[in-house]
């Protein structure tokens, strides 16, 4: 299944190990900041895996949007909702065992199904980047409607987020001199 004579297999295995360990840190760490930094590790290694899987543009989008913007938002959220940044014993609830059993059985089920149906499908063109021009043609051609729609969803969600999180409830212009 895994041919360790190819260097690409080694690179992918190391990246997969980093992703798994960072993901474990995200869901088990007792420190909120460490959990967010674990997500940085998982996303960075995922970007590396995308480079191996010849998805160059998606990899850099992941780095810019996730590690650049979303993580910063998360760190702000953590710092605003927790004054003392440190260890917090109350981070997990008391249903950990049930959650672990459920997640473990989900893992066994999905990985068995995936291996059964697609386990031996070879990955093609590893390391050869997909042309960004082709992706752009598809985004602004065949997928232009979902592209515009998703852009509008993002705009509406961010404006809505700012409106919800605003400190004063009075609309602009109705208050005193704004």
């Amino acid at each position: 299944m895994m041919d360790f004579t190819e260097p690409v297999t080694w690179v992918a295995s190391i990246l997969g190990l980093v992703i798994a360990l960072s993901g474990f840190l995200v869901v088990t760490s007792k420190n909120l900041i460490h959990a967010a930094l674990g997500l940085v590790g998982a996303l960075g290694a995922t970007a590396g895996l995308f480079l191996v899987l010849s998805a160059e543009f998606v990899a850099w989008v992941l780095v810019l949007v996730y590690i650049g913007a979303v993580i910063v938002l998360f760190l702000f959220g953590i710092m605003i909702t927790r004054a003392p940044v440190g260890y917090d014993v109350d981070l997990d609830n008391d249903r950990k065992l049930i959650a672990a059993i459920g997640a473990g059985s989900l893992f066994v089920l999905t990985s068995f199904a995936a291996l059964d149906s697609f386990g031996d499908t070879p990955l093609l063109g590893l390391g050869e980047p997909t042309s960004t021009g082709d992706l752009a043609d598809a985004l602004l051609g065949r997928f232009v409607l979902p592209f515009e729609f998703v852009s509008f969803v993002l705009l509406a969600a961010l404006v809505g987020g700012i409106t919800v999180a605003r400190k004063d409830a009075t609309p602009l212009g109705e208050g005193t001199d704004e």
Partner: protein, 101 residues
Amino acid sequence: MTLGPVLVLAALLFSMGVYGVLARRNAVTVLLAVELMLNAVNINLVAFQSALQTSQGVGQIFAIFVITVAAAEVGIGLAIVLLIFRNRRSANLDDFATMKG
């Protein structure tokens, strides 16, 4: 290299996200776990694009859509967490058992 190990990795990441959503008590960590699950889906999309070589890179384009929607979800989610924290002085999900303020 075959598709199998990549799919198992994505399944592992998704399961860890499910565990995080179920076992975490803090609202921000639940959002972090949701990000893990979305990331697992992205890995699957890109891996299937690499294996099936669909024309026009459909898998990668859907991964970009998922990233966009995830960014929107984080923006809204953190705004709601912030608002609840401002009203209740807590980010503990077990304190929000009733929807009525």
